[in-house]
Symmetry: D3
Subunit: 215 residues, 6 copies
C-alpha cells in the first residue's frame, strides 16, 4: 500500500525498514551508540534511527567492516552494482550521520536516475570514466545535492569503480523509473499517462516490465 502511496518500490520499502538516517542527521548524544539489530527490539518497536546496545558491550568490531575492496558482480540488466555500508551492516554508524557505498560498473553500466531523500553524495571515481550528466567526464570527484535526481553511466571501454560518501547513516534511495512504473500495487495509469504525456498502452507496457533495482 505504501508502495503506491508514496511511489516507493517494494524493495525500497524493505530498505526503509533497515536503512536509518537523514539529510542533517540529529547529532549524537553520546560518544557512540552502536545499533542493535531490529530483531533485538522487543515486539516490533522502533525509534527514529536505531536502538543502541549497552555501550559497555561495544567493541572495535562494531566500528569496522571487511570486504569493500573486492569487486562486485555487474552481470545484471543495469550492468552496475551498488554496495552500501550503512548503519544496517556497520552498526557503529548509528547516530553518526555518514555512510559509504562502492559502485561497480561494467562497460556501459548504468546507475539509473535516482534520488537520496536524506543525503548529499560526494562520489570519487577510482577506475574508469563515468558520465554523470555533465560534459566533463574528466573529473574524478562529483557532488550530488540532497534530494536531486542523478545517475552515473560508465562511458569507458573497461570496468569502472567509484566510492561515494553520503551525509546520512541511512541515505535512502528512490529509483525513479521503478518507483513510477514498478510500484506495487501499480499507480493509476491515468496519472502516469497524463504526467508522462504517453498513451495508456505505453503505461500498461511499462507497468508490466520487470524493474531491476541495483540499490
Amino acid at each position: 500500500m505504501k508502495g503506491v502511496y508514496f511511489l516507493i518500490s517494494t524493495l525500497a520499502i524493505l530498505a526503509s525498514a533497515t536503512f536509518l538516517v537523514s539529510a542533517s542527521d540529529p547529532s549524537p548524544l553520546q560518544d557512540f551508540c552502536v545499533a542493535l539489530n531490529d530483531t533485538k527490539s522487543a515486539e516490533a518497536v522502533f525509534v527514529n534511527g536505531k536502538f543502541c546496545k549497552d555501550p559497555k558491550l561495544a567493541n572495535a568490531n562494531d566500528f569496522f567492516f571487511s570486504g569493500l575492496q573486492n569487486p562486485r558482480n555487474t552481470q545484471n540488466p543495469l550492468g552496475s552494482n551498488v554496495t552500501a555500508v550503512n548503519v544496517d551492516n556497520l552498526l557503529g554508524l548509528n547516530t553518526l550521520g555518514i555512510s559509504l557505498a562502492r559502485i561497480d560498473f561494467a562497460p556501459n553500466g548504468l546507475n539509473p536516475p535516482h534520488t537520496h531523500p536524506r543525503a548529499t553524495e560526494i562520489l570519487v571515481v577510482l577506475e574508469g570514466t563515468l558520465y554523470v550528466g555533465s560534459s566533463h567526464p574528466t573529473g574524478d570527484v562529483f557532488v550530488f545535492p540532497i534530494g536531486l535526481i542523478h545517475f552515473q553511466l560508465n562511458v569507458g571501454k573497461v570496468n569502472a569503480v567509484a566510492f561515494a560518501g553520503l551525509s546520512s547513516q541511512n541515505p535512502g534511495v528512490i529509483t525513479i523509473a521503478k518507483a513510477v512504473f514498478g510500484s506495487q500495487p501499480p499507480i493509476n495509469p491515468d496519472v502516469l499517462a497524463k504526467a508522462f504525456q504517453v498513451d495508456d498502452n505505453v503505461v500498461d507496457y511499462l507497468q508490466k516490465q520487470f524493474w531491476y533495482d541495483n540499490n
Copy 2:
C-alpha cells in the same frame, strides 16, 4: 506540581504527554516512522518523540486523517475551537516535523494570547475576517514566529474559519492567561501581584476563575 513549576496549565500538561515535536524537529532517520500509541510502550517508557511501529506494518491509513472539513462547535466562553491534527491523531507525522490545525470562530470569537514553544505558525483565513493584532485585517495569510505571543479575534459579523500549518509534529501551546492565573497549584500571589502591578485581591479573584482553554 509541574503546573506551578513551569506555569503550564493542567490541560497543557496532559497535552505534553501526547503532543510530540520541536521548532526545528530532529530530521527523520528513515522514510517514515509511524508513531505507536503511548499505551503501546511497555511500562511507561518514552523517547524524545514517539516509538514507531514496524515499518513493514505501516499502511496508507497511517498517513491520512478524515473529518477536518467539518465545522466545529464554538459555543464556549471563548467562542472559538481549535482542532489539531498532529502526531497524536495522525500517527504518520512522527519524525516529520509538521502538523496542522483548523480553527473555528463564532462572531467575536477569540483564540486567546498564547505561544507555541516548539513551532512557527503560518495561518490562512478561509472564511471571515480575523484581527491578529495588526491594523491589516484584509490579509488572509499570517506568520507567527516560534515562541512569540499571538492571538486571533473574529471581527466579522459571521463565523470565521482558518487553517494553520505548524513547523512541528507537536507544537505545544501555552495559553498565557490560564498558565499564569489558572495553574494548579496556584502561583504565589505575591509573584503575580508584583508582576502584573495589581493588588492581591485582584490576583485572588483571578485565581478563583474557571479558565477555559480551547486548545
Copy 3:
C-alpha cells in the same frame, strides 16, 4: 548546465534562486529575520537562506500575505495550479522553517508526480475529492514525507481545492517527468532508454515534448 547535471528542469533552477529552506531548517537566531529581495544584496552575493533587513525596519506587512482565498485558473495541460506562499513572497518566513501552498484542481486535474527535496507536506482537502495514490479517497488530510514521490488527482466531477503546509521556508520541487525528459540540455538518451526500458525513439519523442510545470 545544472539542468542536466542534477536533472532539474530550467524552471526549477530559477525557483532555486528564489526559494530558500530545508527539511529541518536551521533554527532562527533572532525573533525574526525578514528576507531582503535578492536584488538588494550587493554584487550577486547570497547566503544559505536569505539576507535579512534591519529588524528595526520590520513591520506587520512583512508577516502577512493577501489573496490566497481566491480560486486560481486551472486551464492548463495539467488542469491544476499550485500557488506557493513561501519566503519569496512572504518575506517574514525567512529563518522560520515553514511555508504554505494552495492547490486548485479542475475535474481530472493532476498535480503530477514530484518530490520536495527539503520538506514534508501535510495536505488538507477543502473541496472535492482527491486521489493521492491510496484507495482511500475519503480522507481529507494526507502526509507526504520529505523526498518521497507523490501526486494528487482530482477524481471528482467538480473543482477541488487543497491547502498544504510544508516544513520549510523553501521546500523546492522536482517534477519527475519534466526533470527526466524535459531538462535542458537533454540527458543522454542512452541513459533514459536503459533506465526506463524503452527504445531510443520513445525517448527521442518524449524529449521533444513541451513539459508544462504547474509549480
Copy 4:
C-alpha cells in the same frame, strides 16, 4: 507595529535587533566566527545570526568578558537585575549556541514570569534562597525548558545571586505582563478583557501603567 503584532514589548524588539540565536542553534561551520557589530554590516543587511570578522583577525579578547563578578544594582520596581553575556557583548559566542546571565535579587526581588523563545535555562543559585514556583526552595540548581513560563522570587532576608546558562547565543526574552499589557501600540482591549476575564476598565488601567523590564 511588531510590538502589537507579536506582543513583544518595544524593549524586547530592540533586544531582538542585537540578540542572536536559537533553541537548537545551527552548528558552527568553522572553529569560530567572531561576530561583527551590526553597525559594521553595510546598508543594514543582516543574516541569521551575525556576520563574522576575518578569522585571521580574531584574538583572545574576542573570547573573554570582564566584570561579571561584580554585584548589580537592584534598586528598581522589580528589585532584580539581569546581566546577560551573549553574542552581543561577547562576540566570540557567535555560532556557538550558548550564553550566560547573572541575576541579582534584593530581598523580595522578582524576576517576573517570562519565557525564552530560543533557549532552555539552567540556573544555579550562588547566594540566598529563590522561590521558582515549586515548594522546594532548598535546591540550588533549576532547569527551565525552552519556551515555558518561569520566574524567580528572592524569598530570603538577604540579597540573592544566581548564574544561568542558556542554550543559545541569543535566548531572547518575552516578559509576559509587559508583552501583554505594555506593548505599543496597545492590544485591542476587548482581546485582553476576554482573555483575562476582567472588564475593560481593568485593562485600561493596566495598559496605562509603566511596565519596567529588567531584561
Copy 5:
C-alpha cells in the same frame, strides 16, 4: 578495546555510558522528557540520549539539584575537581541541550588540556584568578568552542572557583594526556613515539604512569 580504538580512557568510556548529548543537541519533541536511569531500560537497550519517564509522573524534583554551592575537595594530583550537573544526575535535562559544571581549584590547581566532543563551554570565574592560555588573566568569563583543546590553571595564591555552562546535556570529555598515554590497552608505542617525537623509552615511561582524571 574502545579505549585503544578511539583513545578514550576507561574512565571516559564509563562516562559515555551515562553522559548523553551533543554540540547541537536534537531539539526537544515535547515540553520535557525526564530521563530514566539506564538500569530502568530493559535488557540493556539504549537510544540516542535517554529513555524518558511517563510525563504524567514527572514532578518538580526532576528539575532541580542540590549541593552545587558546596566547595569540593581538591586534594588530588591535579589540584582541581570538576562537578558536573548533567542529564545523568539532573534527569530533567534530557532533550534540553544544556548542562552545568562547578570547578574547584587549589592554588596551582590544573584542569588539564581536554576537549568536549559535543559542547561549547562558557566559563565564569567566581573566585580567584585562572590562566586559560591567554595573557589576559583579568577576564572572568571565557568561551571554549566545541571540540577545541583548552585548560585552566589557578595562578592565584588562593582557591579558585568557576562555573561552566555547556551546550549539551552530555558534553563528554577527552582528557588529552590520559587518552593518549593512559588508554587501556595501550596504543602501539611506535605511533606515540613518532607522533610526539620522543623515543620509545619515554613513551614506555609515560604509558606506565597512573593517569588521574578529575572529570
Copy 6:
C-alpha cells in the same frame, strides 16, 4: 594568540579561515549554494559557512574536482599525506554537509593522533594494511566518531591508500601533539609538565621541536 588560547596550531588556524562546516551541518536552504572565494567577500566580512554565488551563475564545474586519483608524495617526517576535498576547493559542497579526503601512506607512514571537531569519519582502505588502534588490521572500512582521537599507521610493507568521507563541508582537524607542544606562542610549560607528568626540560625540548602537520 588563538594558537595559544585554544591550542590550535598556526597551520590549523589558517585552515579555520578557509575550511567551513559542522558535525551536524545546518541543512541547505536551497538546491545548492556554491561558495564564493573569501577574497570575493567585501571588507573581510564572513558568515557561518560561506557566501554563495548567484545560483543563476552556477555551473557543472562548481560540482566536480579533478585529480584525486593521483598518488601523493609521502616523503615527509610522518610518511603520510592527506588531500582534502572540501568546500574550500570544491565550492559546490557549501551547505551540503559532507567532504572527502585521500590519504597516502609510505611504509610505516603515520597519520598522527588527531580529532575532527565537526565531523565523523568513515574510512575505506583501498591498498595496503592500516593499523587504526585495534587488533583487527584485516578490516577495510573504519568509523571514527566526531571529536574522538584517532590515527592510522601503515603496517604493511608497501604503500597504502585510503579514502575518507567526513560528515561536514569543513571537518576541521586538531593534530594533538602539534596543538599541545607546537602552538605559537607556546603554552605555559607548567601546564604541560603537570598534565603530561614530565619535567620542565622535557616540555622545553618538545616545545623546541618542529611539528610537521600533514593536514
